[in-house]
């Protein structure tokens, strides 16, 4: 029996030693910080990590999460119990719920940047009034990019509503220019037109909140969501989309609109860098060729959603020194390091106290104008289970479902996720 007790003693010692190593809360400051970051981080955000490293003396270890499968890779790693010190991720509640923030994230509500961000955290990065995210980037603005010459040559004005989209589509029929370039090959862009349709019904996120709390249903035939899906299917049936709409990518869409082979495409403002690359880096040439307008069901209202790029969370890791270092990083990113981040973008600041850079292009200013003109938060942002929308809109584009069936499927998925998350109203 002697050897058995020896083995037991060794095993116990091993477990105790490893637990001690895990908690490491012996008061010593952290020397290393692990950040799971989106591989599509802008140079300005990458520079932020470097500047924090230099300023704090804490080593930053960047773990690349491929932007192509960003959500899946993050949730897969997350599900294994693995946790970074800083997580760069979406601030939308629909995706935040899936990380169970109350259980897994540090509460950042008392940090200085929250009070200096206006009402941003009313609709983003928070759950039940508790702020978990630190948003440093200007939101992605969803709207319609259009080729100025393609519309002007046909005597057309930029669209402001879905009926404008239809009339432009009819006017361009047979002209050889695809009225609306849709990118089903990238899948996610197929959500944008249906979401834009809803944006003028979602002032103050009222419609989204009603869906989230089960007061309204997505499969209500008179509701804005199902009508948006019907409008999308209507554009498809009218022949408004490019012939390869189900397989083309959003990069193709941007190139087509810049090149004038397509008149319009519905995408978000973060596509700017790709458009600029298509224009050979010439911002003036891009401004001359391409414009951006907000479009919704009946009026020019854009939708916005804060981007995962530059949005940071501090997960609970059980290591108090590293949790403190994570807060130090967030303090830096939203405080002393923020002006440089904004200037390096350049981007429009979302935290009071930073000054707006002056060197924006006309197209970038049109994103800001669309936001300031009453853009509403994208309706899918704050509803649990809305992540499945991309599958439904892809099927709708390919003619594999009907608007009513897609709306019903979405309502089922919202119900499933909301019940799983234990949300009020379900």
């Amino acid at each position: 029996m002697k050897w058995k007790s020896g083995v037991a003693l060794l095993a116990t010692a091993g477990v105790v030693a490893s637990l001690a190593a895990c908690s490491a809360s012996d008061g010593a400051p952290a020397t290393k910080l692990t950040i799971w970051h989106n591989s599509a981080d802008t140079p300005a955000v990458l520079d932020l990590y470097d500047r924090f490293e230099a300023e704090s003396g804490i080593d930053v270890e960047l773990v690349d999460i491929p932007s192509d499968s960003f959500e899946t890779t993050t949730t897969t790693k997350w599900a294994t119990g693995d946790r970074p010190d800083i997580l760069e991720y979406h601030p939308t509640r629909s995706l935040l719920f899936a990380l169970n923030p109350a259980q897994n994230m540090q509460d950042l509500s008392d940090m200085a940047y929250v009070a200096k961000s206006g009402s941003l955290y009313d609709s983003m990065g928070s759950v039940d009034g508790t702020v978990y995210a630190a948003i440093t980037g200007f939101p992605s603005i969803f709207g319609v990019f259009y080729n100025k010459a393609a519309l002007a040559d046909a005597g057309l004005e930029p669209p402001t509503s879905f009926s404008d989209l239809s009339s432009i589509c009819d006017a361009l029929a047979g002209s050889g220019v695809a009225p609306i370039y849709e990118s089903g090959g990238s899948a996610w862009p197929t959500q944008i037109l249906p979401l834009l349709y809803v944006s003028d019904s979602n002032e103050g996120d009222a419609y989204g909140a009603a869906i989230a709390s089960n007061e309204s249903a997505l499969d209500d035939p008179d509701g804005a969501f199902e009508k948006g899906l019907e409008a999308y299917a209507g554009l498809r049936d009218r022949g408004c989309f490019n012939a390869d709409a189900t397989s083309a990518t959003f990069e193709d869409a941007l190139a087509a609109v810049y090149g004038g082979t397509a008149a319009m495409t519905a995408l978000h403002s973060d596509s700017y860098a790709i458009l600029l690359a298509a224009a050979g880096g010439d911002a003036a040439a891009l401004d001359a060729a391409v414009g951006f307008v907000p479009v919704s069901a009946d009026s020019p209202v854009a939708a916005y959603a804060s981007s995962p790029i530059g949005t940071f969370y501090a997960p609970k890791t059980g290591d108090s020194a590293r949790e403190a270092a994570a807060r130090e990083f967030i303090e830096f990113a939203t405080g002393t390091g923020y002006q440089d981040l904004v200037d390096a973008g350049p981007s429009f600041p979302v935290i009071d106290g930073a000054t707006t850079p002056s060197d924006f292009s006309e197209l970038q200013l049109s994103f800001k104008a669309a936001y300031d003109a009453g853009a509403t938060v994208a309706v899918n942002s704050n509803v649990a289970g809305f992540g499945a929308l991309v599958t439904e809109t892809s099927k709708l584009l390919a003619g594999q479902t009907t608007p009513a069936d897609a709306a019903k499927s979405m309502q089922d998925q919202v119900e499933q996720a909301s019940i799983a998350a234990g949300l009020p109203g379900w």
């Binding site: 997350w78 899948a187 390869d244 390919a398 998350a421």
Partner: protein, 308 residues
Amino acid sequence: MSSAPHRSRRAGHPARREPHRTPLRPRWIGFALPSLVLVFVFFVLPFVLNVPFAFSSWSGYNQDVRFIGFSNFALLWERGILQNSIGITVAYAVIAMTVQNVVSMSLALALRRTTRVNSVFRSVFFLPVLISPLAAGYIWRAIMSADGPLNGAIGLFLPGFDHAWLGDPTSALVIVAFVDGWKWSGIATLVYIAGLNSIPASILEAAAIDGATAWQRFWCISFPLLAPAFTFNVVTTLIGALSAYDVVASTTGGGPGVSTVTLNLAAVQQFGLSYFGTASALSLTVTVLVILTAVPLVAWLRRREVAA
């Protein structure tokens, strides 16, 4: 094993000698042990530990993981995900398996003799096996795009031709399965070449002297004697294609709509939505599908080998 004598009798060879089986001596177990340990640790254990998740409420939304019976399967069925992805996976696997075996059998017959030229071509046709499946998928995606080189070539004869090959539900599934077949047929070709070269030349020469045509020599002599290689290739290509993910993910990502969402792709999509229970249920379905397909198929093909 115990059914082996049965097989002999049914095959009409009552006097046929059973394969000589040497009982495993204890001292040989030491050699098998590393493999057994590896299979147990890296396959059996994870698989067994994963099975319960398919019947659990595990999701990213809360910490509560409860046993919920077959609810995950019922939910997937109700949403049409299970039956759709099973159908697509089976169709994909059958097409990919057929393409691989037809192509590789033809190549093996053409490159059977070991000459310098044939060696070069064998290497060339093996090259796709060495390419990353993701890279292969992206390359084919570019080739098949509406403004890609394939349509460009067709456009030389049919001006203005711009069919979106990967945008049409039927052609997308067939093309993706073809890409899978193209990607892996190099391995099957080598197996068939080895099988063909193990057939005694004297039998084929005798048949030729007796006036058998090339087709008769292949169909009546080579093909039956290739039975072990055929079994191996059919089973491995089918099982490989049932587990398809990478080529599909990089070529169509499951589109258009859900036309090429195989079981593994559906599992990844569920995982991405943080529904780990339903994702596990889909993964278990892949395993069950592979076992249900492979076991009877191997048994049937082995019986054919004995008959041959």
